[in-house]
C-alpha cells in the first residue's frame, strides 16, 4: 500500500519511493528527506479541509505532504 492510504494515527514502515517517469525530482526529494526503505513513518494528522495534505512524521521530522506526493511512498503497515 501507499502512505496516502494510511488513516490518521497509523504507523508504517517505508519500503521505497516510486519514480513517476524518468528523473522524478519529487521522488528524489522525498528520498533525500528520509523516506527510504526501513524507515518508520506515522500519519500524525490530516488537514481540516478535505483531509489533504497529510502531516507525516519520518525520523525526527514532520512534513506536510499532499496526497499525490504521499502516493509515491510505498509502505507496509505496522499493526498498532
Amino acid at each position: 500500500m501507499t502512505l496516502s492510504q494510511l488513516s490518521k494515527g497509523a504507523c508504517a514502515t517505508v519500503t521505497g519511493v516510486e519514480d513517476r517517469g524518468p528523473g522524478d525530482q519529487l521522488a528524489r526529494r522525498l528520498r533525500a528527506l528520509g523516506f527510504v526503505g526501513g524507515e518508520a513513518v506515522r500519519v500524525v494528522s490530516v488537514a481540516p479541509m478535505g483531509g489533504d495534505p497529510l502531516l507525516v512524521q519520518v525520523g525526527y521530522t514532520r512534513f506536510a505532504l499532499r496526497r499525490n506526493e504521499a502516493e509515491r511512498i510505498r509502505v507496509e503497515k505496522v499493526p498498532a
Partner: protein, 616 residues
C-alpha cells in the same frame, strides 16, 4: 587595530530550520550585508567577525538546503558556492555545517553529503539547549571521530553560544576530509543510522510540547478558529494600532515639505521637491509603520514555527483555487501593500504557484485604497444600522475587501485552467515550535525595512518625478482661469481618457485624477481636490472639502463604478515595477496590467450601467 593579514572565508550551510541564521546573527551581530545573487531572487547574506586572536573571518550565510543535489534555485546556489562553481563567489576556505541537535536524523545526512566535497569543515551541533531540555545526549567526541571532522556545540540564541565554534575556527588548521563521490540515498541513510546508534541517545522522536501544541493548533475545529483569531489580531494591529504612528509620520513628512518649501525660492525646484517628491514618496513612506508592524507579526509567527502550520491548514482550499498553502503569507502581506507581498513570494518554490500568487497579489485590498474607499463611502453610503448591529458603511467596506479576495480566487482558478498539466508540490517541513528571539526578529525587521526603503528610493522616486513632470508641464498660459492641472500633459491625458472612461461613468475630473493615482493610489484623492480647484494640499482636508461636493455633483452610478474600479485598480506603477524586478519579465508585467485593466473596466461598466438602469 589588527590588519587582516589572513582573513578567512567561511560559509555557513545547513538544512532549513537548523537555526543557521540565528547562529549567523550571533557571530556577526549587526555587521551584515544583504544583497541578491546576480540574476536570481535568492538573498545573499554576508558578514564578518574578529576572533580573540585578531584573526578576521568573512562569513557567508548560504541558503538552507536539504541536499546538494536539488532543483530549487537557492539550493543550487549553495551547491555551486561549495563546489567553487559559482561565477561571482570564490570557494570558501572552510565550511561550517550547522545541524539541529534535535533533528539529527535528517541533518546528519546533509553533513555526510557535504563531507564528500572534501573541504575543511566543522560541524556545529546547534540548539544544544533545546536538546538538553529534552534529555537528548550527544557524544560529540564519538561523532567527531566517526565523521573525521571537528564537532562543536552551539546555541544560536544565547550570548556566547558560538564560543566553541569560534575557538575551533581560530585555532586554524581545520582538517579537510577526503573528497569522495556522494553516495546514494539508501547508503547515506544507512550511515546516518549507524552514527545515531553510536553517538546519540534520543529519548523521544519529537518534543512533547510539539505533540501537544499540534494536537490543539492543527485540530480540525480548533485549528482553523485559532488561525482566524490570529489573522484578526494582525489586521486589528496593522489598521488600528499603526494609525497614530502613521499620522505622526505623515505630519512630520508634511512639515518637512513645508519647511523646505519656505526655504527654497519659488520655482520648479521648489515645486519638484514639495509637490513631487514629498507628496509622492512621502505618502509611500507613511505606510512604513503599517508594513513594519505587519512584518513584525509575520517574522514572529515564522520564527515560532506557526506559519508553516497555517500553510498546512490552508493548502487544500488554496490549491483548489490554483494557489498553494505557501501563498498565504505573501497574500496576507499584500493587505498592507502589494510590494512586500510580491517580494515575499520568494518563499514559494513551485514557479507556477509563485507566478499565480504574484498575479493576484494586487487584488488584496492594500491600505493605499482606503482613503479612496473612505471618501466615496462617506459621501454616498448612508450611515445606518443594518440588522440592528452592523453599520451599512462598514458593511460596504467589508464587501469591497471580500470582492477583492473572491476576484483573486477566480483569477487564480482561471490561470490554473489555462496552464493545466504538470504536478504541483507542497512538501513542507513543519519545524519544532520555538520562542522567537528578539534579536533575530529585529535584524529581520531591519533588513525588510531597508529593502522597502531602497525600492522607495529608486523605483518610486523616479516614477514620482515622471508624474510631477506630467502634472507641471506645460505651465498654464498667463491669465488662465482654470486650475493649472488642466493645462498640463496629465490634464490633456485625462481629457483624452475621458473618451475611454465615459462608458463606465467617469467624468473628466475623475479621469484626470486617475493619472497621478498611478504613482500611488491614495494620491487620487488629493488630485481630485486639485482638479476641483480646492486649494487643500492635505489629504484629510481635501477629503472633507470634497465629500459634499461629489455627493451633490456625481450620480450614484458613477460613485459605485469608481469604488468597483479601485477593487482592481490596475494603475499602481510601483507594483508593476516590483513585478518586473521579481519575475525579470516584461511579459508578466504586461499580462498583469492588461488583465487588471480589463477586469476593472468590465466590473465598473456593469456596475455603472446596472445602477443607472435601476436608479433610472
Amino acid at each position: 587595530m589588527n590588519t587582516a593579514v589572513d582573513s578567512l572565508r567561511i560559509a555557513l550551510l545547513g538544512n532549513p530550520n537548523c537555526g543557521k541564521t540565528a547562529l549567523f546573527n550571533q557571530l556577526t551581530g549587526s555587521r551584515q550585508k544583504v544583497a541578491n545573487y546576480a540574476g536570481v531572487t535568492v538573498e545573499r547574506k554576508s558578514g564578518r567577525f574578529t576572533a580573540p586572536s585578531g584573526r578576521q573571518f568573512d562569513v557567508l550565510d548560504l541558503p538552507g538546503a536539504y541536499s546538494l543535489d536539488a532543483p530549487s534555485p537557492d539550493e543550487a546556489i549553495t551547491r555551486d558556492v561549495c563546489r567553487g562553481h559559482h561565477p561571482a563567489e570564490p570557494r570558501p576556505d572552510a565550511l561550517v555545517c550547522v545541524v539541529d541537535a534535535t533533528n539529527l536524523r535528517l541533518h546528519l545526512r546533509f553533513v555526510l553529503e557535504v563531507r564528500a566535497l572534501g573541504l575543511p569543515m566543522v560541524v556545529a551541533v546547534n540548539m544544544a539547549d533545546a536538546a538538553h531540555r529534552r534529555g537528548i545526549r550527544i557524544d560529540l567526541h564519538a561523532l567527531s571521530e566517526a565523521l573525521g571532522v571537528p564537532v562543536v556545540e552551539t546555541i544560536g540564541i544565547r550570548r556566547g553560544g558560538a564560543r566553541q565554534l569560534v575557538e575551533v575556527l581560530d585555532r586554524g588548521d581545520i582538517p579537510a576530509p577526503a573528497a569522495a563521490d556522494i553516495p546514494d540515498d539508501d547508503s547515506l541513510h544507512e550511515q546516518v543510522r549507524a552514527l545515531l546508534a553510536r553517538a546519540v541517545d534520543m529519548p523521544s522522536p519529537t518534543a512533547h510540547i510539539d505533540e501537544r501544541l499540534d494536537r490543539v493548533l492543527l485540530h480540525p475545529l480548533v485549528g482553523p478558529l485559532v488561525l482566524v483569531a490570529t489573522m484578526f489580531l494582525i489586521f486589528q494591529a496593522v489598521f488600528a494600532w499603526a494609525a497614530p504612528i502613521q499620522e505622526t509620520l505623515a505630519g512630520a513628512v508634511g512639515a518637512t515639505g513645508e519647511w523646505l518649501a519656505a526655504l527654497l525660492p519659488e520655482g520648479h525646484l521648489q515645486s519638484l521637491l514639495t509637490n513631487g517628491i514629498f507628496a509622492g514618496v512621502g505618502t509611500v513612506v507613511e505606510f512604513l509603520p503599517q508594513i513594519l508592524l505587519l512584518f513584525l507579526f509575520i517574522l514572529a509567527l515564522e520564527e515560532s514555527g506557526y506559519l508553516p502550520r497555517a500553510a498546512f491548514m490552508l493548502d487544500r482550499p488554496m490549491f483548489a483555487a490554483g494557489l498553494s498553502g505557501r501563498s498565504f503569507i505573501p497574500l496576507l502581506s499584500s493587505f498592507a501593500c502589494a510590494i512586500p507581498g510580491i517580494m515575499a513570494t520568494r518563499s514559494i518554490q513551485d514557479p507556477r504557484d509563485r507566478m499565480a500568487t504574484i498575479m493576484v497579489a494586487p487584488l488584496m485590498t492594500c491600505s493605499a485604497r482606503l482613503p479612496v474607499y473612505t471618501l466615496l463611502i462617506s459621501a454616498f453610503v448612508p450611515s445606518q444600522q443594518v440588522a440592528g448591529m452592523f453599520n451599512l458603511q462598514g458593511l460596504v467596506l467589508f464587501g469591497l475587501y471580500v470582492a477583492g479576495i473572491v476576484s483573486a480566487l477566480l483569477v487564480a482558478w482561471t490561470m490554473k485552467r489555462w496552464r493545466r498539466g504538470g504536478e504541483h508540490s507542497l512538501l513542507l517541513e513543519l519545524p519544532s515550535y520555538r520562542i522567537p528571539h528578539p534579536r533575530d526578529i529585529l535584524i529581520g525587521l531591519w533588513e525588510r525595512c531597508w529593502i522597502f526603503l531602497r525600492r522607495v528610493g529608486t523605483i518610486i522616486l523616479s516614477l514620482t518625478i515622471v508624474m510631477w513632470v506630467l502634472l507641471s508641464f506645460p505651465a498654464p498660459p498667463p491669465g488662465a482661469t482654470e486650475p493649472a492641472i488642466e493645462y498640463s500633459m496629465a490634464g490633456q491625458l485625462g481629457r483624452l481618457l475621458e473618451y475611454v472612461f465615459a462608458p463606465i461613468g467617469f467624468n473628466w475630473q475623475i479621469s484626470i485624477a486617475l493619472v497621478p493615482g498611478m504613482a500611488a493610489r491614495e494620491v487620487a484623492v488629493s488630485a481630485l481636490a486639485t482638479v476641483y480647484a480646492l486649494s487643500a494640499t492635505d489629504e484629510e482636508v481635501a477629503a472633507q472639502a470634497l465629500e459634499p461636493l461629489i455627493a451633490t455633483q456625481w450620480p450614484l452610478a458613477t460613485a459605485l463604478s469608481l469604488l468597483v474600479w479601485f477593487i482592481y485598480a490596475p494603475q499602481c506603477l510601483s507594483t508593476l515595477a516590483v513585478v518586473k524586478r521579481e519575475t525579470g519579465s516584461w511579459k508578466s508585467v504586461a499580462v498583469m496590467a492588461l488583465y487588471l485593466f480589463a477586469l476593472a473596466y468590465l466590473a465598473s461598466f456593469l456596475t455603472f450601467q446596472i445602477t443607472r438602469w435601476i436608479t433610472g
